[in-house]
């Protein structure tokens, strides 16, 4: 959709070319705005595949929690929200939602909802939540335009915005219905970077203050704000080291740290972490360094060079001594804490093997795994090849802004290599640099075609017929070379910022003379343009395919296509609806933590553990229960006041991500806290097998029994379609649980704990086994409310 926009832009540019620079400039502005509008529409509408192919529904797991929080916010108001203690989850501990949630997304959607409703537009909270992510991806592509424009001009900006609007990596997190923090956070991230670069270019305190606010929004939205608060100091440090210190750098950085840290501390979930954890330490260190450097520059201006040298030697000797002492104290302080002041997720970023060694719960989440090479190709596609070209073009010439982009790219490549989820942070960087690369390439190629044929009829017509993309950039080239200085001055006078004229001017001080040297022969440049257009076309095709096929499934409703039409597997909602309507309001439902958020949001029942995995012991308790034999499991669940147990079973229809496949994590996490669960007992030849080779412990554990209860009677053999073999233990009875509901395709099975048996006369009740006692003890220890 961006392409037609550019073609209109090109024709418009041609018209305007006749009648003076001023009109053409105005037309260019209008067309640029129009192109941006269409890019926004593209970004929004490419994310609607999920609504069209499936329905307008919240997706997956975490979005259900956010949706529930938004519902609460819209119903009870902001003050109730801050004080919300949620007693429907982590039973019996509960969770303080207001203090443990990043409120940015919720507040954003809540505000949109409130605004619409005060205009008497009766959209439901759900609808607003579903469409928040597409709206914010349109915003993100506009922010990308601004950021790229700051460093490489509007042409690159438009290109980058169009690329970002449909980059699959970002689509995967922001399709309609994917109501997650990242949806708004990526916008906030790019916008914060834009404002930082803008401040760096202009030296305006106004933008610095805006930058702090934007950073505040980012802190509200996502834990990934630590990326900003480390990346910007790194860039500042880079600038200082490369001798690019200026007052603009100071203005860009110092207010951000002071205001930003103060504002960040206002967010309950961050609070004093903003000054106390190691993630923020680098920013303060650089803050100090920046001041030292500023002082040095100031003194350098005051003193004569000779005196300055003396002062330097003096200060360095004293300063170093002091620094060592301070550093030693700091190191000692930090080292005294077991995790060195870093949170588990951050540590696993620095040391990719950390999580799998120490925190199975982080390792158990698939999006915390390192990505594979195909996933790079899937998620950023041709951008992976264009990025190096973008880096090169950032170095010609290197400005503060372009060095920032390069630094952003390099760090995000590292992070995306550690965790597949952080591919999302890489995507904007890759888009910006590819946009720059493409824009520069088109620039060079079209320019050489134009200079080859001074009449330019031939060249422009082939280019025009070849693709709409090229003329856009030839137009840009016109404005850039011929009216560049005028454009710049116009922009500046309208924005009343004189200062960035010099910075912009420095980045674009290439007159026509230099450009003539870069002329390529006509044939190869036409070929190059064609190839680039084909590349862009491939990218667009891939993005649309990814948006339509790969990333639009809501995962709560599954479909499969067979020769006799479309099959819909709506078992999850069937089970949740059953729970919600046919059980008592205060009943507790135990399931593996994956389904916690959905159970609370869709079934409105109290759960034991959920996807906010804050209490490892509690999760381990559930894991232990699932991997224990029936009686022991019943005792654990009964001690937790559980009435229903929910398991997800894919063996009948072949749904692979079911509880048997997640079972290894239950054993691992359970065994990590309760040592009587030994992983080796469940393993046969290093595999979790549930066929006749399975270990007796495995075939007697609760999870196996609940999944396969009476399964053999469906086909007489008990053939599990996920594992691809017949199950090991076929006929068995449940003694402590009874089946109360199984969904249509058997994907969700709900069991009820049988009531406690009457005491038989003369038979003493056995003392609770050491196992349950240890659990009691540990939960009691962890539970401040009991």
């Amino acid at each position: 959709m961006a392409e037609p926009s550019s073609s209109t832009e090109a024709s418009g540019g041609g018209d305007g070319g006749g009648s003076g620079g001023r009109l053409r400039d105005a037309l260019g502005g209008v067309l640029c705005a129009f192109a941006l509008l269409l890019i926004g529409v593209l970004a929004f509408s490419i994310r609607l595949f999920s609504v069209i192919k499936y329905e307008s529904v919240i997706h997956e797991f975490d979005p259900y929690f956010n949706y529930r929080v938004t519902q609460f916010l819209s119903k009870n108001g902001i003050y109730e929200f801050w004080n919300w203690f949620d007693d429907r989850t982590w039973y019996p501990l509960g969770r303080v939602i207001g203090g443990t949630v990043y409120p940015g997304l919720t507040l954003t959607a809540g505000t949109i909802w409130w605004l619409l409703n005060s205009l008497n537009i009766p959209l439901s909270v759900e609808t607003v939540c579903v469409f928040t992510a597409p709206i914010f991806s349109a915003n993100a592509s506009w922010a990308t335009y601004l950021l790229t424009k700051e460093s490489k001009g509007p042409g690159a900006g438009l290109m980058a915005a169009a690329i970002l609007a449909m980059v699959p990596s970002y689509i995967s997190r922001s399709v309609a219905g994917s109501y997650d923090n990242e949806a708004v956070a990526i916008f906030a991230l790019i916008f914060t970077f834009y404002l930082y670069v803008k401040t760096l270019n202009t030296g305006s305190l106004f933008y610095a203050a805006l930058n702090a606010l934007s950073y505040f929004y980012m802190v509200c939205s996502w834990g990934g704000y630590t990326f900003i608060i480390n990346l910007i100091p790194m860039h500042v440090l880079l600038c200082i080291v490369t001798g690019r210190y200026s007052s603009r750098l100071y203005i860009a950085y110092a207010p951000l740290i002071v205001l930003g840290t103060l504002l960040a501390a206002l967010v309950p979930v961050v609070g004093f972490n903003a000054v106390m954890t190691s993630e923020h330490f680098a920013s303060f260190l650089v803050f100090i360094i920046l001041h030292v450097v500023a002082l040095v520059y100031y003194i350098k201006g005051l003193l004569t060079p000779r005196l300055f040298k003396v002062a330097v030697t003096f200060v360095v000797t004293v300063g170093l001594a002091v620094c060592f002492v301070v550093a030693a104290i700091l190191v000692a302080l930090v080292a005294s804490s077991p995790t060195k002041g870093w949170s588990g997720r951050s540590l696993s970023l620095l040391d990719p093997t950390y999580a799998s060694k120490y925190i199975p719960i982080i390792a158990s989440v698939s999006e915390h795994q390192p990505p594979t090479w195909p996933s790079y190709f899937m998620d950023i596609n041709v951008l992976a090849f264009l990025v190096p070209a973008g880096i090169i073009s950032c170095f010609l010439p290197l400005s503060d802004a372009s060095s920032f982009l390069v630094l952003y790219l390099v760090t995000s490549v590292y992070f995306s290599g550690v965790m597949v989820r952080l591919m999302l942070v890489l995507a904007p960087a890759a888009c910006i640099l590819s946009g720059i690369a493409l824009s520069e390439a088109f620039n060079v190629l079209t320019r050489s075609m134009k200079f080859q044929r001074p009449t330019s009829d031939d060249g422009s017509s082939t280019a025009g017929s070849g693709s709409p993309d090229t003329p856009a950039h030839s137009m840009k080239y016109d404005s850039k070379t011929v009216v560049k200085s005028e454009t710049v001055s116009k922009e500046k006078s309208s924005k009343k910022n004189r200062k960035d004229k010099e910075s912009q001017g420095s980045s674009s001080d290439d007159p026509r003379m230099e450009e003539k040297l870069l002329v390529l022969p006509c044939g190869p440049s036409a070929l190059g343009i064609m190839l680039l257009i084909i590349l862009c076309g491939l990218y667009v095709v891939h993005c649309v395919w990814a948006a339509a096929e790969a990333y639009s499934a809501p995962s709560i409703v599954l479909t499969s296509r067979s020769h006799d039409g479309l099959h819909v597997f709506d078992d999850f909602r069937e089970a949740y609806a059953w729970l919600s309507h046919n059980t008592d309001v205060d009943d507790k439902v135990a399931s593996w933590w994956d389904y916690g958020y959905q159970t609370t949001a869709m079934a409105n029942r109290t759960v034991i553990v959920d996807n906010n995995t804050w209490n490892n012991t509690h999760i381990a308790t559930v894991g232990t229960a699932m991997s224990s034999p029936e009686k022991a499991a019943w005792e654990i669940f009964n001690s937790l006041d559980v009435k229903y147990v929910l398991v997800v079973f894919g063996g009948l229809i072949g749904y692979p991500s079911d509880d048997i496949n997640k079972f290894l994590w239950m054993v691992r996490i359970g065994g990590g806290v309760f040592p009587h669960i030994k992983e080796a007992d469940y393993l046969r030849d290093g595999n979790y097998r549930v066929d006749s080779h399975g270990t007796p412990t495995m075939l007697n554990c609760l999870m196996y029994k609940l999944c396969y209860y009476r399964f053999v009677e469906t086909d007489g053999k008990g053939f599990d379609r996920v594992r691809g073999y017949e199950i090991g233990k076929k006929h068995f009875k449940l003694t402590h649980f009874e089946e109360v509901f199984t969904t249509h395709h058997w994907m969700v099975r709900i069991y009820k704990l049988k009531p406690q048996k009457n005491r038989v006369r003369g038979k003493l009740k056995l003392r609770p086994s050491s196992k349950t006692r240890s659990i009691r003890k540990s939960t009691g220890r962890k539970n401040p409310w009991q």
Partner: protein, 470 residues
Amino acid sequence: MPPSRPTPIVLLLLFALTAVSSSPLPPEDGIRVVSAEKRIDLTGPIVKVFLTLKVENAPGASDASQVLLAFTPTEVEHLAILKATRAEGKRKKKAYVPLSVEASDLAATPNGARLYSVLLSTPLKPGEKTTIEVLYVLTHTLEPFPAEIGQSESQLVYFRDSAVLLSPYHCLEQVTYIKMPSNRIESFTRVDPTSRAGTELKYGIYSNQMPNTYLPILVHYENNRPFAVVEELARKVEISHWGNVQITEQYKLKHGGARHKGVFSRLEYQSRPSMSGMSSFKNLLARLPPRVHSVYYRDEIGNISSSHLRTDSHKSELEIEPRYPLFGGWHCTFTIGYGLPLQDFVFESDDGRRYINLTFGCPLLDTVVDDLTIKVVLPEGSKNPQPSVPFETEQHIEMSYSYLDVVGRTTVVLKKKNVVGEHNVPFQVHYEFNPIFMLAEPMMLISAVFLFFVACIAYLHMDLSIRKSL
């Protein structure tokens, strides 16, 4: 299984009634029932009674303008609808004239029995005979026994009534037929002469019954028909004069039969459908008007994919399946919404007023609605709404606000309890509407956009800086 529990109550009632009926009643205006035939239809979850009364005014009495019908207090409580017609004319030109029925508060009724009077269109002259056909429907009168059943058991219910017609009049000849859904009748009270033929029970012929005679009977039989009870139904009708009538119906459905007990095994349910869950139901049929469009069926957690819509030129049928089969005592909620073309439902009357003509009641077939609310949201700017419903409803008017409303939309709210299929009759809401109001919202939007651009222009042409730019 012989019923043990209700017997004392029945006996007591019998005793009390006979005791009272022996006391002399103030003579009604000479009417007596020559012959009465009562046909009770027990095949569904509701009780339908067709009553044919041949009444005669005594030669010596004055003109009778009404005929009284008597109901026990329990029946009155569960009475959903009561309709009467009078057969007029001779064989060939026989026509049924609907008669109006109203609750009568004549004091002299024994044991709290309530009287309803059927108002005759032309008074019955002394010595004249006429035939009155009465239809009434009772809901929630079938009591499941046992009250809790397992998955494989079938549902048995009790039905209680009187063998003879409860009537304030002297009854010369009377017979009662009870029709069952199946052959399986566990037990029934015998009041001779009583006979059973297949699925039908016949009580009578009884002759010369005194007024207010009540002979309780109890029938215990199998009824596996879906006991679909809509506990609450809120229908919202939104009229847009741009061409659409949007209807949204929110259902709270319950299986009102014997409660499900113990396990629910999907395996049993799927592999032996005839043996398991006989009283449960998994689909319902809604009959919608023809030319219905944009139909949706969802609940609070999203779309429900199991529904089918069949349309033809006379009607549309929407077959819906709740997310899970409903067993006794299970609940579910869902919403059905659809749009209808405006010209099929909104008309202009001769005096320039407009009216919407809709069907009352619930579009789901074979259901009982405990609590029905119909909200007719008239377009913004409508005045003087006047609903006209052929039976008694609770009515009030409120304001509702929707897309960009400023003054709000007048909303007519109609409420009725205990609604059955017989209530699906047309009703109208008359209102005044000036088409100029249709343009209000577009104009508002246009002016908003216009003002926005004016503001933009003004901003671009103003220099808001403190310092003059150099």
